[in-house]
C-alpha cells in the first residue's frame, strides 16, 4: 500500500497543499472582486437581460389574463362571442385604472398597426359602456351593494358560486392594495356589477343571501358588450386583432426573432414577410459584408505600417506610433464629421479632383452617405486597432529570421512570405478579430456618413431602442448579432486556431 505523504506537522501533504493554495486563491479573488462586480453589473446582467427581453412577452397575459384564458380555450377562430368580450371588458377596466392598456397597445402595435390607437380609444370608452343598467338594477334591489364592505363579505362567502365576480373583485382589490389604498364607494365600478350580473344569470338558484340581487338580475335584460366594443372601435369586429392576441398570448414568443429575420407568425404558421417589409436580413448581410471589407482594408493599410513600426529605429518608431495613436486624442464625432467635410460633393477631395481635371464639375463623385463613405471613415477609425496588435507581434520577430532565410538562398519576397508573414499571422488574427467585432457593432460613424445605403444593423437597433421603443425587437437583433459574432469566432478558431492569436 502506498504511504500517504505527510507534511512536517503530520497532516496529509495533499491537504496542507490544498489549504495553502486555497488561501492564495481567496486572496486573488479578493483582488479581482471589484472588477468582477463591475463586469457583472455592467456586462453580464445587461446581456442576460437582453437575451431575456428578446423572447419575453408576458405583457399580454399580465394585462388581459381573463381574456387570454377564454380566448385560448375556444376552438373556433374569428371574432369571438360575448364571453370573450366580457372578459376583455373586465381586463381592460382594470388595466385602464393602472394605465397599462396603452403599453399593451404599443406592444401589439409592433405586430398589427393601429393596435395602439385602438387600445387608447377603447380604454377611454370602457367607462361609458351601457352596463350602468346592471348597477342600477342591483343597487335598487339591495342598496347594501353600494357598500364595499358588503361586497367584500358577500363575494368572499359565495366565491364558488360567483367565479367571475370573485376574480374581478380580488384583482380590483389588488390594484388598490398596490397603492396602499382600499376600494371606496366611488370605486364600485360598473364592471363589478356586470360580473355579478353574469354570475347570477348563470346560477341555477340564488346563492345564500343574494336573493334580491338574483331576482333583479333575472329581471334585467343583458346588454351586448361586444357591440359596445365594436362601437368604440370597429376593429374589434374584425378577426385580425383576435388573431394577433391569440398568437401573442404565450408568455414567451419567438416573434421578435422571427421579425429580426424577416419572418412573421401567422395563424397558418411561420411565413416570410412581404417583400416590401423585409429589411433585417439585408441589413445583417450588409453589416457583415462591410465589416469584412473594413477589416481587409485595415489589414492592407495597417500591415506595412506595423512592419515599419517594428523595424524602424526606436526613436523614429516612437514618433510613428504617436501618429498612429493620434486619432485617439480626438473625439470620434469630430473625426467622422471631418470625413464628411472631406468626402462630400462640395468637399475637399472632390474640389481637388475637379481642380486637377480628373472629374467634371457637373459629375462630382458621390462618396458620402453611401457604403463607400462608411467604409472609408470606419477603416480610418479602426485602423489603430489593427496596427497595434500587429505591431506588438511583429516586434517579437527578430530580424535574424529574415537574414537567415536570405542566407539560405531565399529572395526578399520568399523570405518575407515563407518566414516573416507566417509569424505575423497571429497579429493579423488578433487585429482582425478586434476590428471585425468593433465594426459589426459600430453605430455612430454609419449613422453620420452612411446615408440609407450605408447604415448598419446597430443603427436599426438604436432606432428601436430610442425611437420606436420596441426593446424586444432591439434585443432580438442584438442577440442575433451576438450569436453571429460567436459563430464567426468559433469558425475562426476552427480554421485559424485561436492559439494563433496573439496580442504581443
Amino acid at each position: 500500500m502506498a504511504e500517504v505523504m505527510q507534511a512536517a506537522d503530520g497532516t496529509p501533504l495533499k491537504r496542507s497543499l490544498a489549504r495553502a493554495l486555497r488561501r492564495q486563491k481567496l486572496r486573488a479573488l479578493g483582488l479581482i472582486a471589484p472588477l468582477l462586480f463591475f463586469v457583472l453589473i455592467t456586462f453580464i446582467i445587461p446581456i442576460g437581460n437582453m437575451l431575456f427581453r428578446s423572447v419575453e412577452n408576458d405583457i399580454v397575459q399580465n394585462t388581459l389574463p381573463g381574456t387570454i384564458a377564454v380566448l385560448t380555450a375556444r376552438e373556433e377562430t374569428g371574432v369571438p362571442g360575448e364571453d370573450v368580450f366580457t372578459a376583455l371588458y373586465i381586463d381592460l377596466f382594470i388595466a385602464e385604472e393602472q394605465k397599462l392598456h396603452t403599453r399593451l397597445g404599443s406592444r401589439l402595435n409592433y405586430e398589427q398597426t393601429g393596435a395602439s390607437s385602438m387600445f387608447r380609444r377603447t380604454g377611454r370608452a370602457v367607462g361609458r359602456f351601457d352596463t350602468g343598467t346592471y348597477t342600477d338594477a342591483i343597487t335598487d334591489a339591495n342598496p347594501a351593494w353600494e357598500d364595499p364592505a358588503h361586497w367584500a363579505a358577500t363575494v368572499e362567502a359565495n366565491a364558488a358560486d360567483l367565479p367571475r365576480t370573485a376574480n374581478a373583485w380580488s384583482r380590483w382589490q389588488a390594484v388598490f392594495a398596490a397603492e396602499g389604498d382600499e376600494i371606496g364607494k366611488r370605486n364600485l365600478e360598473d364592471f363589478l356589477f356586470t360580473a355579478l350580473y353574469l354570475d347570477l344569470r348563470d346560477a341555477d338558484a340564488a346563492p345564500a343571501g343574494l336573493d334580491a340581487a338574483y331576482d333583479a338580475a333575472r329581471a334585467t335584460d343583458p346588454v351586448s358588450i361586444k357591440d359596445a366594443f365594436i362601437d368604440a372601435d370597429d376593429k374589434w369586429g374584425a378577426p385580425q386583432i383576435w388573431e394577433t392576441l391569440t398568437l401573442y398570448a404565450p408568455k414567451y414568443t419567438p416573434g421578435y426573432f422571427l421579425n429580426s429575420l424577416d419572418y412573421q407568425k401567422t395563424p397558418d404558421g411561420i411565413e416570410k414577410r412581404p417583400e416590401n417589409e423585409q429589411i433585417y436580413i439585408t441589413l445583417f448581410g450588409r453589416t457583415i459584408w462591410m465589416s469584412l471589407l473594413i477589416t481587409f482594408s485595415c489589414i492592407a493599410l495597417g500591415y506595412p505600417i506595423a512592419w515599419l513600426l517594428a523595424n524602424l529605429p526606436m526613436r523614429k518608431a516612437n514618433v510613428l506610433l504617436i501618429l498612429v495613436l493620434l486619432p485617439f486624442w480626438t473625439s470620434l464625432l469630430v473625426r467622422t464629421s471631418a470625413w464628411k467635410v472631406m468626402l462630400q460633393q462640395q468637399g475637399v477631395i472632390n474640389d481637388v479632383l475637379v481642380w486637377v481635371g480628373l472629374v467634371d464639375n457637373a459629375n462630382r463623385l458621390i462618396m458620402i452617405n453611401n457604403q463607400f463613405g462608411t467604409i472609408v471613415a470606419m477603416t480610418h477609425i479602426l485602423l489603430p486597432f489593427m496596427i497595434l496588435p500587429m505591431y506588438s507581434v511583429m516586434q517579437t520577430i527578430p530580424p535574424s529570421y529574415l537574414r537567415a532565410a536570405k542566407s539560405l538562398g531565399a529572395t526578399n519576397w520568399t523570405a518575407f512570405w515563407r518566414v516573416y508573414f507566417p509569424q505575423s499571422v497571429p497579429g493579423i488574427g488578433a487585429g482582425s478579430i478586434l476590428v471585425f467585432i468593433l465594426a459589426i457593432g459600430y453605430y455612430i460613424t454609419p449613422e453620420i456618413v452612411g446615408g440609407t445605403k450605408g447604415v448598419f444593423i446597430s443603427n436599426r437597433i438604436a432606432y428601436h431602442i430610442s425611437s420606436s421603443l420596441n426593446w424586444g425587437l432591439a434585443a432580438a437583433l442584438g442577440t442575433i448579432l451576438l450569436v453571429a459574432v460567436l459563430v464567426l469566432y468559433w469558425a475562426y478558431d476552427k480554421i485559424v486556431g485561436i492559439d494563433n492569436v496573439k496580442l504581443g
Binding site: 529570421y401 536570405k406 539560405l408 509569424q423
Partner: protein, 366 residues
C-alpha cells in the same frame, strides 16, 4: 598555377572599411585572405566589429570602402541570397513555424530541388549532427544544444563552400559548448568547408581554429595560428587579451638583435626580447606568461638578471598552484606552477628570486 592561386585566397577582404553613421569607422582597413578549407576565428572584445565583418561577408551590410572577394570574384554587388554562404546565428534563428525537417528543407526548396533529393540531403545533414530522430519536432520542442545542432545542419544542408558562424555557442552552458566546439571543428574538417567563426571567448578561438584574427578597434591586431598567437603576441593588446599575462612597465636601455635590456620603473633591470620596440630610450610594456616564470635559479642561464619577489598569496587549484607576488612594485604578478610531487608550496611573506628565459619575456609597445 592559377587554380592554386585561387585556392590560396578563397575569401579576401581588401582595404575594407565600414561606417554606420558616416562619422566613425567601425571597421578600419581590414585586410584578410583565407585559403579554401580553413577554419578562421575572429576573436575580439564586444563592439570590435566582428559581427559587422561577418555581415559584410554575408551581404547584409555593404562595405563603405574596399573590396570583398569570394573565390576571386568581387561580391560587393551580389545580394545575400545569391552568395551561397551558410550562416549560423547566435540565437539559432530556426523558423519557429516549421518543423526541423521543414527548416532544413527550406534552402533546398528555394533551390528548386526535387522531393527525393531533398529528403536524402535532409537525413544526411541530420545524421551529421546526430539528430535524425527529431525531424518532426518544432524548434520550441528542442533544447538549446539541439537547436544549435539543427541550425548547424541547416547551414550545411545545401552544401555551401563557406559557412559563417556568429557566436553560435554563446547561449549554451560550458559543458555543452565544449561538446559542440568539438563537433563543429570535426564537421568543418570532414566536409572541407571554409569557416569563419566569430567569438569573444579566447579558449574557444584557440581550441577550434586553424588561424585566429584578433580584432580590436576595427582592425585585425594579429592573425596567426593559436600557438603563435599565445606564445608570440605581436602587441600588448594581443598579449593581454589572449591568456593570462604579467606586465611590467619600463624603458629600453640596451638593444641588440633579439635581445634587449629593460630598466623597470623601480630601477631593476631585466632581459627581454624586443618585439615592437626599436630603439634605446623607448617606453615599453614587457609581458611574460605566468607559467614561464622560473623560481629555480639552476634552470636559468647564468648571466641572466633576476628579480626579487615577495609572496602575497598562494592558491591551490588542483592541477596547478597559482602564486601571486609583488614584483618591482607590481602586486598582480602571478606565477603558475605544476602540482608535481617535489613542487614547493610557497607561503605568503616568503622572499624569493625569480627569472626567465629572455625569449619568453616580450618587450612590447607601452
Amino acid at each position: 598555377m592559377a587554380d592554386t592561386a585561387n585556392d590560396q585566397a578563397f575569401v579576401e577582404f581588401e582595404r575594407v572599411q565600414k561606417s554606420y553613421d558616416g562619422e566613425t569607422l567601425v571597421v578600419k582597413d581590414l585586410n584578410l585572405s583565407m585559403p579554401r578549407g580553413e577554419f578562421l576565428t575572429m576573436l575580439g572584445p564586444s563592439g570590435s566589429g566582428k559581427t559587422t565583418c561577418l555581415m559584410m561577408l554575408a551581404g547584409f551590410e555593404t562595405a563603405t570602402h574596399g573590396d570583398i572577394r569570394l573565390g576571386g570574384t568581387s561580391i560587393n554587388n551580389i545580394p545575400p541570397h545569391k552568395r551561397g554562404i551558410g550562416m549560423v546565428f547566435q540565437n539559432y534563428a530556426l523558423f519557429p513555424h516549421m518543423t526541423v525537417a521543414e527548416n532544413l528543407s527550406f534552402p533546398l526548396e528555394v533551390r528548386k530541388m526535387g522531393k527525393a533529393e531533398r529528403e536524402e540531403k535532409i537525413m544526411r545533414a541530420l545524421g551529421m549532427v546526430q539528430m535524425q530522430d527529431f525531424a518532426g519536432r518544432r524548434p520550441a520542442q528542442l533544447s538549446g544544444g539541439q537547436q544549435q545542432r539543427i541550425a548547424l545542419a541547416r547551414a550545411l544542408v545545401f552544401e555551401p563552400e563557406l559557412v559563417l558562424m556568429d557566436e553560435p555557442l554563446g547561449a549554451l552552458d560550458k559543458q555543452l559548448r565544449e561538446t559542440l566546439q568539438f563537433e563543429i571543428t570535426r564537421l568543418a574538417h570532414d566536409l572541407g568547408i571554409t569557416t569563419v567563426y566569430v567569438t569573444h571567448d579566447q579558449t574557444e578561438a584557440l581550441t577550434m581554429s586553424d588561424r585566429v584574427a584578433v580584432f580590436d578597434d576595427g582592425r585585425i591586431q594579429q592573425l596567426d595560428p593559436p600557438d603563435t598567437l599565445y606564445e608570440a603576441p605581436q602587441n600588448s593588446f594581443v598579449a593581454q587579451f589572449i591568456g593570462e599575462n604579467n606586465t611590467l612597465m619600463g624603458k629600453i636601455t640596451k638593444i641588440s638583435g633579439d635581445r634587449c635590456e629593460v630598466t623597470l620603473d623601480d630601477g631593476e633591470v631585466i632581459d627581454a626580447m624586443p618585439v615592437n620596440v626599436t630603439e634605446v630610450g623607448q617606453r615599453t610594456r614587457v609581458s611574460i606568461r605566468p607559467e614561464r616564470v622560473e623560481m629555480d635559479k639552476s634552470r636559468l642561464m647564468p648571466d641572466v638578471h633576476t628579480l626579487k619577489a615577495e609572496v602575497l598569496e598562494f592558491v591551490y587549484m588542483g592541477d596547478i598552484f597559482r602564486t601571486r607576488l609583488r614584483v618591482a612594485g607590481n602586486d598582480d604578478f602571478v606565477i603558475k606552477t605544476r602540482n608535481a610531487p617535489d613542487q614547493v608550496r610557497l607561503k605568503p611573506g616568503e622572499q624569493i628570486e625569480i627569472g626567465w628565459l629572455p625569449q619568453d619575456c616580450r618587450a612590447l609597445d607601452a
